[in-house]
């Protein structure tokens, strides 16, 4: 695992984080539930919690789908290429390329590797790692590895990812090192996916 220069992380008094979606995207509950699941994968293993709130302007983490130049100097490039990016703590900005073809559900069995569609949860889990302070890892199996092949689903945190996030925030008290503890995010409990 790797960290950003200076090892930025969320301060001790801000570990119960909130997140909100850009209302202009008018996302369905189904799409929002994918992010709740992705946040849950990180809160399972570390001492952070994530709660979905309505207020986009005041939440810790802001999530939006944008195309091309969207004002942060890192333009998106249409289908494939760069898929999303997220800023290190405590910025909380998480942007996804609205031009991509996102597959929302997890059933990728019939996925053909040469399609031009990408698994949304795989990208969400990776970018949330950046939001929490992890950089790109050179371990190919890691969630924090920079590339994702189309048609591939990669959502389970590896020991490399867990070691990195626990270095920054410590372990979830319920995490026993093998199977993830019961979910700690409120949104996840109510998501239609669970």
């Amino acid at each position: 695992y790797a960290l950003f220069p200076g090892e930025p992380r969320w301060p001790r008094d801000r570990r119960d984080l909130t997140y909100a979606f850009d209302p202009r995207n008018k996302l369905t509950d189904e799409v929002k539930s994918v992010f709740a699941r992705a946040f849950g994968r990180w809160s399972d293993v570390t001492a952070l919690s994530f709660t979905n709130v309505e207020s986009f302007s005041s939440s810790d983490i802001t999530i939006g789908f944008y195309t091309g130049d969207h004002g942060d100097g890192e333009s998106f490039d249409g289908v494939l290429g760069t898929l999303a990016h997220a800023f290190s703590p405590p910025s909380g900005k998480f942007h996804l390329d609205a031009d991509e073809n996102w597959v929302v559900s997890g059933d990728l069995d019939s996925f053909l590797s040469v399609t031009a569609a990408v698994d949304l949860e795989s990208v969400a889990v990776h970018e949330i790692g950046h939001l929490l302070g992890l950089g790109h890892s050179s371990v190919e199996e890691s969630i924090m590895y920079p590339t994702i092949t189309t048609g591939k689903r990669k959502v389970d945190l590896t020991s490399d990812d867990v070691e990195g996030i626990q270095y920054l925030y410590g372990a979830n008290p319920n995490f026993n090192g093998t199977s993830p503890p019961a979910a700690t995010t409120r949104e996840r409990d109510t998501g239609s996916f669970s």
Partner: protein, 138 residues
């Protein structure tokens, strides 16, 4: 575009072999000293992900120069590819895979192959009035 599941993906997307950075495939085999039409684009790619510092202004040439060679070597090291300094087929195949927009190199420091955090085991030995600090790099 959101597809509820993979079976909802239309045929036009299922069988596409289009890769966003298609044009880079034309540079397969390129090496230092060559001048190849359009090579400046891959320099822009490497600058985008931090492999060429921002201090190099955007007007890149089509020369396969030392700037590009160093960028490729660092990229190959980060992704544990053979460090050839050339745009060999495997490196090109890797470059065209969709990816996160965050850079791999920040302020000239490669985040990736710096590898795991070093942990120091701290211990104090009582000797003398002032305990001495001992560290062991693990």
């Amino acid at each position: 575009w959101f597809f509820p599941n993979s079976t909802a993906i239309p045929p036009s997307l299922r069988n596409t072999t289009r890769v966003f950075w298609d044009a880079f495939s034309n540079f397969t085999g390129c090496h230092r000293g060559q001048n190849v039409d359009g090579l400046f684009r891959i320099k822009k790619y490497f600058q985008r992900f931090g492999y060429i510092p921002e201090t190099f202004t955007g007007n890149f040439t089509d020369d396969f120069d030392d700037i590009l060679k160093s960028a490729i070597e660092l990229y190959q090291k980060n992704f544990r590819l053979n460090v050839t300094g050339q745009l060999d087929a495997l490196t090109i195949k890797h470059i065209v895979v969709p990816r996160c927009g965050n850079p791999d190199v920040v302020n000239g420091t490669s985040l990736m192959h710096s590898g795991r955090r070093k942990t120091f085991e701290v211990s104090f030995s009582p000797g003398g009035k002032v305990p001495r600090l001992h560290t062991v790099k693990r």
